[in-house]
Amino acid sequence: MAGKDEKDKVTEQAGAAGPRKLDRRDVLKGLSTVPALGLFGYAWQKQRQYQQATIEAAAAAPVASSDLQVINVALLGAGAQGQVLTDAMLRIPGLRFRAVCDVWTEYNQKRVVNQLRKFKHDVNAYENYREMLDREKELDAVVIATPDFWHSQHAVDCLKAGKHVYCEKEMSNTLEGARAMVVAARDTGKLLQIGHQRRSNPRYLHCYEKLLGEAKLLGRIVTLNGQWNRAVAPDLGAPDRYAIPEARLKQYGFKDMHQFRNWRWYKGLGGGPIVDLGSHQIDIYTWFLGVNPSHVMASGGQLFYDPKTHEWYDTVMAVFDYDTPAGPVKAYYQTQTTNGSQGYFENFMGDQGTLLISESEAHAAKLYRDTNAPAWDTWVQKGYITAPKVQEMKEKTEGVTDVRESVSPDEHNVPVVLRDPYHQPHLQNFFNAVRGKAKLNCPAEIGYESAVSVLKVNEAIEAKSRLSFKPEDFHI
């Protein structure tokens, strides 16, 4: 209390000392209206470059300029995620779709084939991926968006057939499967990118490189929390008339149409919401903190949905420990599937500030500075963050404290906007790497480390105890 009183006194004296000076907010407010390039030059330039690249990309499609190496691509898995990836790839220049493979030939396969033909890609349709690999000799790359329990076999076989592979997360539903993928990528020398697409998102890259790396705006990060809450929804169904015959379902590892559509909820096929949703964000925890976790404890349950058709936990709460070079960190993560409150975000909390970031362009990223932390003016002037949102301040009567509604802390935005579909930069990174013009942002080894952290959560729930990671767990 003594400390606080002293501080208040200092503030009071400053307030009484003659005419009101411009405070930092005023200066920043003034600066932010000056249309000088130097002030926000960095962010402006960075955004501009990124946008220019994507505009050129769009302008180049569908006919790539002659010096751009055309990449022959196949899509393996044409479900909801395969369609999202296709949509993003249609905006990337220099790709030629050659084939689409999906066991749901009656519906999803047709839908994607029709879509690609609209865009003048002459594609062949396959039910069986081996047949596709046998016949499509010219393929350079395969993009895999099949159910998790197929990832390992699909990726390994594609790599061994000499194709570069982009594979959706979770890399595999088992660590053995994930290991086999890392080994196959090493043995074949082919590229394997795992679909943790935030790693290529320009806003996440900016936060990682500039705000945490260079400016260290948060000071010492001690805790973080994150979540993906999703509103209640019925199980996925399928139009009756397009049901897959039972024999074919069995052939591909599904006991019925319900399981085929809702494989994410079944043990042995998927990993439940913690893997489907949490995986993306726990990957960001590790990336931003720079180390893998040391421990995890978790609680989860089948609280709401029918446990017979929802074998995995519909609700999961987990706490990770990280031993970072700066000190220990506790990281909370929650996912539940019965109420979409607050959506999805990751929130990094340091002694000097907070970074609240979401992949959603509707929410983007916000920064809050602790009132005692060093000023962030330099970073505002460099264009790393925007000037704070300034409260409407009425003129004060000199020396008298005006009691009023509390003033919120400074809120800064991150001036980097993604103008493309969410998965496009990560796919672009993969295809740039295929052309030898970039390094993968999420190669197999990184995907594996992430899988080790995430799959352990389900294990910890079952074990009802705190589990530890050894550093060697993360390496092959």
């Binding site: 505009i55 302008a59 569908p62 249609l90 609209k118 169904g237 009756d240 607050q342 609240l356 362009e361």
Partner: protein, 336 residues
């Protein structure tokens, strides 16, 4: 903190602008009247979408409705001007000479919007006077090119209707043919009627006096759009930039292509996505003169409109309803 949203990257906060005024003016017969009808609703595009349908299997009907709602969410991610990485977000950022690729549905929606712009002499304008003709649409390669900077697209006056059209097609694919879909009651599309009925019961009511029902309709294979103004609301005429006066509400009925036996796609214009067209026309019909509206209805078989004029300045009395066009057997109407 991120606002309330489900996990699908849905926009919250301000949604696409509602064309003219707000979502009101169309009523749908309640559950008491339609006992065998299952109802499902979902928030998207800053309003509530609803699927009403008849199906023996409750779970199947819920799954079909959910698939339709997922489609509405996808369309919102493509069409919302509030999302920087939507197709429209990107189009709104084009400088002169730049182009960008959009999805087939975004392109189709833009083509319909452009078509209605031409049909109505610019009274329906998704660019709100910023220069729709400066956008070149290339539907073969799904490219949008801006010939000048500063064009700002807002699909608020057509996007909900377009979503309703595609949702209805999806429900038919699922075998849910006895169904009705609407986006915030302002864009309604009736498919086949529940057994024993000749159509879905709808009412048109005075936005200034909601208890005053102006017409009762029984509708099948038809889209209805509504625009209305409450006291204090106004609508800007994109042709002049001035607020328009004198009209309180407009409703438009457009038969689905199958119902009038036309091909889904003709050479002359885009596919007749009935709800998208109804949604767009209703905005224009808040502004066009009765003569212009009559001329349009004459040229388009089945097109029907109801216009609620404000009483003349200083005069007491109820707003008067003008009923134009309508020769389609797909529904019956009784004014009351």
């Amino acid at each position: 903190m991120p606002g309330a949203a489900d996990g699908c990257g849905r926009v919250d906060g301000p949604g696409p602008r509602v064309g003219a005024g707000a979502d009101r003016g169309l009523g749908i017969g309640g559950p008491r009247e339609l006992r065998d009808v299952r109802r499902f609703s979902h928030e998207a595009m800053a309003t509530v979408f609803e699927v009403q349908g008849v199906h023996a299997d409750a779970r199947y009907a819920a799954q079909a409705a959910q698939a339709a709602f997922d489609l509405a969410d996808r369309l919102e991610r493509e069409l919302s001007r509030f999302l920087p990485n939507s197709d429209i977000g990107r189009v709104n950022h084009l400088a002169a000479g730049e182009r960008t690729r959009v999805s087939p549905s975004t392109m189709e929606c833009l083509v319909i919007a452009r078509h209605v712009f031409d049909l109505t002499g610019g009274a329906f304008d998704v660019s709100i006077g910023t220069g729709l003709p400066s956008l070149e649409l290339d539907p073969d390669d799904f490219l949008v090119r801006a010939t000048s900077s500063g064009v700002r697209i807002d699909l608020g006056g057509i996007g909900k209707g377009y979503a309703v059209d595609l949702m209805a097609e999806l429900l038919e694919e699922w075998g849910l043919e006895l169904a009705l879909v609407h986006g915030g009651f302002s864009s309604v599309l009736a498919l086949e009627a529940p057994a024993g009925r000749d159509g879905w019961p709808l009412t048109l009511s005075d936005p200034g006096a909601p208890s005053r029902v102006l017409a009762r309709l029984s509708v099948r294979q038809t889209a209805l759009g509504a625009s209305g103004l409450r006291k204090g609301d106004h609508i800007v005429d994109p042709r002049t930039g001035e607020p328009a006066r004198g009209r309180r509400a407009a409703w438009v009925a457009v038969p689905r292509p199958a119902a009038v036996g036309t091909e889904a796609r003709t050479d002359e214009g885009p596919r007749r996505a009935a709800a998208a067209v109804a949604d767009a026309l209703t905005t224009a019909f808040m502004l066009l003169s009765p003569g212009e509206i009559e001329a349009l209805c004459e040229r388009s078989p089945g097109l029907e409109a109801w216009i609620l004029e404000e009483p003349a300045e200083g005069r007491q009395g109820e707003a008067s309803l003008l009923h134009v066009g309508g020769s389609d057997p797909g529904y019956t109407s009784t004014s009351s």
